[in-house]
């Protein structure tokens, strides 16, 4: 009675993982069993077909944005962790200071001072840009926080000057009636033509719709 090969023998034969002696014993088995031979040949053709037709890589959409987002998240996490460490270190010295008897005597005066030191400042609550990325190497991006405007300002240097017919003189924001978060921004030229429409795509990512002449 023939002993059918187990799964691992078939798999290892297909992947060329058998030793020479295992291989010759398995192939001897194949000559005795045409049904098994046909099955093995079919699986072998399947493997060839897969290797020939499977794409090794799939193109990642918005690849530059993907990288820059990772860099931003790393920077944010490191800033956060540095802040926590700094606070922990301050607390540590605060509590260890209490172990000294002479410090207890001055405790009431110190409490007021430390409370002020620990209170988060306005700047800490404000949002700020940790890193910026410009895909065009000739463009330099820098950011700063404007107290006057209470906003983060993004400066782009090295951009080509806009031709007069692309000069933006006005904009209009259209919000969805059902969802105020969904909006498109239309930028207009001096002549009232639509220069650009900015919106969010289905994946909630920024989308620029090319300009079209005013109808």
């Amino acid at each position: 009675m023939k002993t059918p090969p187990d799964e691992s023998q078939i798999v290892r034969w297909l992947d060329g993982e058998m030793t020479a002696s295992e291989r010759s014993a398995f192939e001897a088995m194949l000559t005795q069993d045409p049904e098994l031979r046909a099955e093995i040949d079919s699986l072998s053709r399947l493997g060839e077909t897969l290797r020939k037709n499977l794409p090794v890589e799939r193109e990642l959409p918005h690849a530059d944005f993907f990288n820059s987002q990772i860099q931003v998240r790393i920077s944010q996490e490191e800033m956060q962790s540095a802040r926590e460490e700094s606070r922990a270190s301050l607390r540590q010295s605060w509590f260890s200071g209490f172990r000294l008897p002479w410090v207890l005597a001055a405790a009431s005066a110190v409490v007021a001072l430390v409370a002020v030191t620990f209170r988060p400042t306005e700047d800490e609550r404000a949002s700020f840009v940790i890193s910026s990325y410009a895909p065009n190497p000739s463009v330099q991006a820098r950011t700063f926080h404007s107290d006057e405007a209470n906003a983060t300002v993004l400066m782009l240097e090295g951009l080509t000057a806009l031709p007069p017919d692309r000069k933006i003189v006005g904009h209009q924001v259209f919000r969805s009636e059902t969802d105020q978060e969904v909006a498109t921004t239309t930028l207009f030229s001096e002549t009232g033509d639509v220069l650009l429409v900015l919106a969010k795509g289905a994946e909630n990512r920024p989308q620029v719709i090319p300009r079209s002449p005013r109808s």
């Binding site: 798999v11 897969l50 959409p61 993907f66 990772i70 998240r73």
Partner: protein, 207 residues
């Protein structure tokens, strides 16, 4: 490994090796990490996409995998392959996502949510349709293969891709999927049998 595919870890001329980049990352060099992201982002995205079958989720999962890799960079041992280590992290992120999804849907995966199932495409190109040239024939075969792979369970889908697409060894697959060599061989066997069942007519006719 596939004979026509160089090891993903092998540096080409003028390229810095993974190990060198990893050492720089361990010293806090985020630019070195950016170079690793650029090198592996398509492969990681492909893997996540094939497991999850959804482009948007695969994009987010790939990003999460790289962030986790950055956080765990200190624990990476230089005697291991960065590529399989990164794959293992991606595998874990994908499976965490699937567990969460399963929990949220109170039971089973909702197949209707898969964005890029190609079954519809396969139906649009019936098997008996005329094939005017080889390019058309190959394109159809790729669609059929993509569809057949999407029909496999996540474990079987991943093992086929790790073996046939990335050319990993049994041991590397076992490391990525955290299972024994016996389980790798068994899963490979049943995944291939299932694909054979789904594709036999197609690939035998295409030969």
């Amino acid at each position: 490994m596939k004979p026509d595919m160089p090891s993903p870890n092998a540096p080409v001329d003028g390229e810095v090796s993974d190990l060198e980049l990893v050492k720089r990352c361990q010293a806090g060099d985020t630019r070195a990490f950016d170079a690793l992201v650029t090198k592996y982002r398509n492969r990681i995205y492909s893997m996540a996409y094939h497991i999850i079958q959804n482009e948007t989720e695969a994009w987010d999962i790939s990003q999460e995998a790289f962030i986790k890799a950055w956080r765990a960079m200190g624990s990476f041992k230089s005697d291991a392959s960065f590529y399989t280590w990164l794959y293992r992290i991606t595998h874990n992120v994908c499976y965490d996502w699937m567990r969460k999804k399963k929990f949220e849907s109170e039971g089973e995966f909702d197949d209707s949510e898969r964005e890029h199932r190609v079954a519809a495409g396969a139906e649009a190109v019936p098997r008996g349709a005329p094939r005017p040239d080889q390019a058309m024939k190959n394109a159809e075969l790729k669609v059929q293969i993509d569809w057949a792979i999407s029909q496999l369970s996540p474990d079987h889908r991943q093992i086929i891709l790790l073996k046939e697409m990335d050319g990993l060894s049994y041991q590397e697959i076992a490391d990525v999927m955290k299972c024994s060599l016996g389980t790798v061989m068994s899963r490979l066997f049943y995944a291939r049998k299932k694909l054979q069942e789904l594709l036999k007519e197609t690939y035998e006719n295409a030969a």
